[in-house]
């Protein structure tokens, strides 16, 4: 299947009344998706979008803090979650083979997909083999990522999203903007309008006199989707966890649409990223405590389904598991960036992010927005695209995302690593490369370095606090003061003080004599926001 095949026909629709929607490209990204700064600039001018996001993220932040505070061992759970995922990733080949064996033994069929096109071809073929022309879907990030619905549509198969927020996105011909609540950019009034205008074209119309009360909107979705659930023969899902030792698939949800899709159809197809595997059934005791409290701020989400292969006279008689790579092995190869694969898609990092709260999710591209998207998308797709190259900069590095992450992904650390790679690999950073080249030469030539720094201190009274040009430098200093040039260079200072008994070598400044320093370094110690001389980076 070529990239052109996967371009959605009739995609000239708009996202909340703005730019034309870009078309899907080969890597599951968007051809022509603007870099983050351009997309964000447009988003922050949308007053209604900002109000919707401020309201929704503010609501969930306070609730999450309360749900987490109930467990006094939260940090131990978080550490165990992190370590179990790291252990799994370090032996990923072993655990995937174990899962494959267990699923097969329990009556399921396992398929492997190197990329989006291969996964879409597998699922399309499986649906076509049933003779059905429609499927019901549980909300799934993996199938968003591979744009499965578009691929199915090209083969005449209608895929009905059944999660309420996904339904809102699908009916509105829109794109998701949040991992947990894909329609977070819509408020209740907008949702009512979409239901009134679009439900009839997809099936049962919205009830007469529908108001914007959330309970009424939920009821409208219940009525609209019920007929689809009752006649569905094929269900498609992702998975939250795949247990290697037993082959058990775990799906966490709230509405019951997941249960409908997992139990009523005859055939079930689950598309699962290879990083979703956990070694043992027991490991769920960690993740089923971490995920709901981080995600919807509940002690437990309303419904969790677990199933192992097929069961006689209960649920689907045919089960297919599609294991998806699609860039995950590239991510695994990066020793720093690999930690992004620990993600359990809770979306807590989105809800606390000052950048996400102002720009919304669309600016990050689809389907992974917010801080986790800023490190996941460039690693899954590579840094060549304009959007991907800009995403590592879509952060103030304030670290709030790391603090709330239930599996302790150090997002700022990965962002900084990706900035370095972006500067080295991607186009568009010529000024930075030129500056680094000049610095390298100076550091290789001590005499020239001393001359340059002496010249800088001599001219310190002339140093501006803002840079007049070029434009990029002027913009950068418009909101930041340049550091003051000191009166003497470090070399000059050292010469004066580097004498036996001189103050520069007083024992109090020698870490080797500081007996209290045997703690391991904090995991954040390498992050730039710990550096006290860059307060302008604090959000």
């Amino acid at each position: 299947m070529t990239a052109e095949d996967r371009t959605r026909p009739g995609s000239g629709t708009r996202r909340h009344g703005e730019a034309p929607r870009p078309t899907a490209g080969a890597a599951g990204t968007f051809v022509g998706m603007p870099a983050f700064p351009q997309a964000a600039a447009r988003a922050v001018r949308d007053e209604r979008l900002r109000a919707n996001l401020r309201h929704a993220t503010g609501t969930i932040r306070a609730k999450r803090a309360g749900a987490v505070a109930e467990l006094d061992d939260w940090q131990h759970l978080r550490q165990a979650g992190k370590e179990i995922k790291d252990h799994t990733l370090a032996h990923l080949d072993h655990y995937l083979l174990q899962a494959e064996e267990a699923v097969t033994a329990a009556g399921g069929t396992v398929h492997w997909a190197r990329d989006a096109a291969e996964a879409n071809a597998i699922v399309t073929g499986l649906v076509e083999a049933t003779g059905e022309t429609e499927v019901v879907k549980v909300k799934s990030m993996a199938t968003q990522e591979i744009r499965l619905n578009d691929a199915l549509a090209e083969h005449g198969i209608a895929a009905y999203e059944t999660d309420l927020a996904e339904l809102i996105v699908q009916l509105g011909d829109d794109e998701p903007s949040h991992i947990l609540v894909p329609a977070i950019h819509r408020n209740r009034g907008q949702i009512r309008d979409i239901f009134r205008e679009r439900m009839a074209a997809w099936g049962r119309p919205a009830p007469e006199g529908l108001t914007d009360e959330p309970a009424e909107l939920a009821e409208a979705a219940r009525l609209h989707l019920r007929e689809k659930f009752l006649r569905a023969k094929v269900g498609v899902s992702g998975a939250n966890f795949l247990v290697a030792e037993t082959g058990t698939v775990v799906i966490v949800e709230s509405e019951g649409n997941g249960r409908m899709c997992l139990t009523l159809p005859k055939t079930l197809i689950s598309v699962v990223g290879i990083e979703k595997v956990v070694p043992t059934w027991r490991d769920l005791e960690v993740f089923l405590q971490l995920l709901p409290r981080s995600s919807t701020a509940e002690r437990m989400n309303p419904y969790t389904s677990t199933f192992t292969g097929t069961t006689d006279a209960d649920g689907p008689s045919e089960f297919h598991l599609v294991l998806l790579d699609n860039g995950r092995t590239d991510t695994l190869a990066d020793a720093v960036g690999r930690q992004a694969l620990r993600c359990i898609r809770c979306s807590a990092c989105l809800n606390v992010c000052p950048v996400y709260e102002r720009t919304g999710g669309h600016a990050y591209g689809v389907p992974y927005p917010g801080p986790i998207g800023a490190i996941l998308t460039p690693q899954l797709h590579g840094l060549q695209g304009a959007l991907e190259a800009s995403l590592p900069y879509a952060s103030s590095l304030c670290g709030a995302c790391y603090d709330v992450c239930p599996v302790a992904i150090d997002i700022p650390e990965v962002l900084v690593e990706l900035r370095e790679r972006s500067a080295q690999e991607a186009a568009g950073h010529t000024a930075e490369r030129a500056a680094m080249g000049a610095a390298t030469w100076l550091l290789d030539h001590p005499a020239a370095y001393r001359a340059a720094t002496r010249a800088a201190t001599a001219g310190r009274s002339l140093a501006p606090r803002q840079l007049p040009y070029p434009a990029a430098a002027r913009n950068w200093t418009a909101t930041r003061a340049l550091p003051q040039v000191p009166a003497e260079t470090f070399h000059q200072w050292w010469k004066k003080h580097d004498r036996p008994g001189g103050s520069a070598r007083s024992s109090s400044q020698r870490p080797s004599q500081d007996g209290a320093r045997d703690d391991p370094p904090s995991p954040r110690s390498s992050s730039p926001d710990d550096t006290p001389d860059t307060p302008q980076d604090q959000a």
Binding site: N52, H55, T57, T59, I60, L71, D72, D73, H76, Q79, A80, E83, H87, H91, D93, H94, L96, W112, L164, A165, V181, R188, P214, A215, A218, E219, A221, R222, R226, L230, T246, T248, S254, E255, G256, N257, R259, M260, T263, I274, P279, T280, W281, R282, L284, E285, V286, L288, R299, M300, N301, P302, Y303, S305, T306, T311, D325, D330, L332, A333
Partner: protein
């Protein structure tokens, strides 16, 4: 297809370098430093906490005794206005001794459309978790296949206290059999999809009545 499998495995082994291909030891026990439970070991406290947490998420909680259970079930079905109730295989007959609501058995089995026409479903459970306000069904006797407790709009679930009540998620996971299909239920169907605010009542049963039998209620 096997090409894809070989390629993905080769990519993983390439990415991992030396660590790949070896059978790992189990995740070390001493790295599980979290608590096995956050709750008092007293069975009465555990059951009270379960009742409180079930109610937090809008399940209707009723405490009763073994003798009073049939009349409690009868009252709940009547209060919901139910004319029909699904009876899963293995449900104790006595539970429906004091109601004249029509009993529908899952023989055949029932189609989804037939199931949708039934007003209520009465089930037991395999266990309940106090700390999270969760009931777990595993399709065992008195529970039936998963669809039975999903499609009807009203679910009455009976928990035997204290023996079916565990304190915590780790205690529940240790007791459950992963080979059986499970449904963990915490309150009625709900969504947070409109402005991240929780609303009860979407696709699953919109009314969840939980009857706790025994446990010094």
């Amino acid at each position: 297809m096997n090409d894809a499998r070989d390629t993905v495995l080769a990519r993983i082994r390439g990415a991992l370098g030396d660590g790949a291909g070896r059978t790992p030891g189990p995740f070390p026990e001493d790295r599980r430093r979290y608590a096995a439970s956050h709750t008092s070991a007293d069975p009465g406290d555990r059951t009270a906490l379960l009742a409180e947490h079930l109610a937090d998420y809008r399940a209707h909680v009723h405490r009763t005794t073994e003798e009073e259970l049939p009349s409690a079930v009868g009252r709940l079905l009547a209060a919901h206005g139910s004319r029909t109730v699904v009876v899963p295989p293995g449900l104790p007959e006595g539970w429906l001794a004091e109601t004249d609501v029509e009993q529908v058995h899952d023989s055949g089995p029932l189609t989804a459309v037939e199931l949708d026409a039934v007003d209520s479903v009465l089930t037991g459970c395999v266990l309940a978790i106090a700390e999270t306000g969760t009931i777990v069904l595993d399709s065992g006797p008195g529970q039936g296949r998963r669809a039975l407790s999903l499609v009807p709009d009203h679910h009455v679930c009976v928990i035997r206290a204290p023996e079916q009540v565990v304190a915590s998620v780790p205690e529940a996971v240790a007791r459950l059999d992963p080979a059986r299909p499970q449904t963990w239920i915490s309150g009625p169907s709900a969504t947070s999809d409109i402005e991240l605010d929780r609303v009860e009542g979407v696709h699953g049963p919109r009314t969840l009545d939980v009857v706790i039998v025994g446990g010094a209620g």
